[in-house]
Amino acid sequence: MGTHLIKRVTFDGINFGFLFLVFLLGIFTPNEEELLNLSKNSLVALGCVVLGVVFSLIINKMGIKTLGELLFAPPHKKTVTSTPVIWYRTFWGIQTAGTVLLMSVLGYFVTEVNVREVLDIENIKNVLRLIEQLATPNWEVLPDVVWKAIQSVFIAFMATLIAVPIAFLLSFVSAKNIMGTTPVGFVIYMMARTLFNIMRSIEPIMWAIIFAIWVRFGPFAGMLALLVHSIASLSKQYSEIVECVDEGPIEGIESTGAGFLQTIWFAVVPQIVLPYISFTIYRWDINVRMATIIGFVGGGGVGELLLLYQRQSLWNEVGVVILVIAIIVWLMDNFSAYVREAIK
């Protein structure tokens, strides 16, 4: 009961708070200076959310079902259905439609949508000229581009290769069924999970900025950036595989008097090898994609050339880079899908 109420009130509070805020925006039409007053505006926003929470409580008390209630009501309440009502006759239906509509209108202004720019004849002429140049590649730079593209593939490969054994060990530390049995283990499990989530929420391109300063610009920085991201991602994916293993063989091996490491090696590892390989190849595939653009921030690979040519508006050269990247990504995509299909 408790968690469902908190979830519902949080959801509705933010939803209604947003609606109230937009409403206030419409009434007071603040100027640019007022819009940038962050501390004051945050207070107003918070006030709106609190108001939204109160509103959600009152409305649901009156027996009207809000969207939050619809989403988070516990199962035993959900099954009680009266005669079906068309969505636009319900409060939650209006609530959803209203929110989406308001978001669209706001989004139109915030993203500065301008259809006239798209249809402007001069602009279209410009872009056609660009496409024409891209489509007539300057093949003289092809050897450079191919070399750098190969560098990208190897940046991705090395990052994946080094990440695998590290993630392999960490995946057991961050698997609930292995660590969750003792209080100390559970604490380690929680810490590992949190660390991986933080590491993953920082994009490789940010890591590349850090490593480009640390070990200087170049492919090594890019490799380290992808390595950090790969360790976090693979650990998470591996540990989810470990959490899905069949407990039977574990009990079987334990019953022979085997030790902890023996049990993991004989009962868990055989069950996870193939999924691990599958995820690893997929990670390499993803890393190749990232390695092609990581050069933008000094991480080496073909991205360096893309940045170089684009800065100088050498569109015929950019055309070569785009083509080579497309081919490599396409090849890796197919290769990884092909191998993963085979070992399923």
Binding site: G248, P249, E251, G252, I253, E254, S255, T256, G257, A258, G259, L261, Q262, W265, F266, A267, P270, Q271, V273
Partner: protein, 258 residues
């Protein structure tokens, strides 16, 4: 009963799970060396928990388990592994490593005698492999040694599990519903092999069973559990209709397996 040789003496064994379920509420019984003891009772009566408390896959909450006169109910660490090695176990779902060959599965019975490093590299002593093959022959599947375990039928997999258990060189063999996921014909093959190791190797067997017809055929002695308590102990032939209803509840009918 003076002079009887008891391998196990269980006294007031209790098990309460962390979620509060009381699976065993003070169970006491003795097991004679070399006997074929069968435990019967409904699903959830505590049979599986009882076996797992004996070989310490689970930790009993209270009570004693005297194994060769030594209380092993609350031992820790290395001693737990030793208890497990000396009381081998087979399971309803066999619990083999499906992707590994039969021989590799059987060899895992030798893990407790093999150093961690050696076992991780798959280096088992030559004598262990020879023993493992002998036990495979004993359960009649010596020719399947290099087949992958998941390629075998259920009955064959359970025989691999018996061979693995024998490789542990145990004194007791615990069998948790060993035939519950097998078809009736295969049931008897597996039970016959259990009887064989009981009689030929002198292994003490404690076996959970569902079917009363199997109990009457194979058990030397039977105990019955109901709601975590011992409700019957004695000769399987003396279980009559009245007893049957007390163990399995009113209106229960016996199913015959042929």
């Amino acid at each position: 009963m003076a002079g009887e040789d008891y391998i196990l003496k269980v006294k007031d064994l209790e098990k309460t799970y962390p979620n509060g379920v009381k699976a065993l509420k003070g169970v006491s019984f003795d097991v004679k060396r070399g006997e074929f003891l069968v435990i019967i009772g409904l699903s959830g009566s505590g049979k599986s928990t009882l076996l797992r408390c004996l070989n310490r896959l689970h930790d009993p909450t209270a009570g004693e388990v005297l194994f060769n006169e030594k209380d092993i109910a609350h031992v820790k660490g290395q001693e737990v592994k030793e208890v497990r090695q000396r009381m081998a176990m087979i399971f309803q779902h066999f619990n083999l490593i499906e992707r590994h060959s039969v021989i590799k599965n059987v060899l895992t019975g030798a893990l407790s005698r093999t150093s961690t490093l050696k076992s991780l590299m798959g280096m088992f002593a030559k004598t262990e492999t020879k023993k493992a093959k002998e036990y495979l022959d004993l359960v009649g599947i010596g020719d399947k040694a290099y087949t992958r375990a998941d390629q075998l039928s259920g009955g064959q997999q359970q025989r691999v599990a018996i061979a693995r258990a024998l490789t542990q060189a145990p004194e007791v063999l615990l069998a948790d519903e060993p035939v519950a996921s097998l078809d009736p014909a295969t049931c008897h093959t597996v039970m016959d092999y259990l009887r064989k190791v009981n009689r030929e190797l002198g292994l003490t067997i404690i076996c959970n069973l569902h079917f009363l017809s199997l109990v009457k055929e194979y058990a030397d002695r039977v105990i019955a559990l109901k709601d975590g308590k011992l409700v019957y102990e004695g000769d399987p032939k003396e279980i009559d209709e009245a007893w049957f209803e007390r163990i399995y509840g009113e209106g229960a009918k016996e199913v015959h397996v042929n």
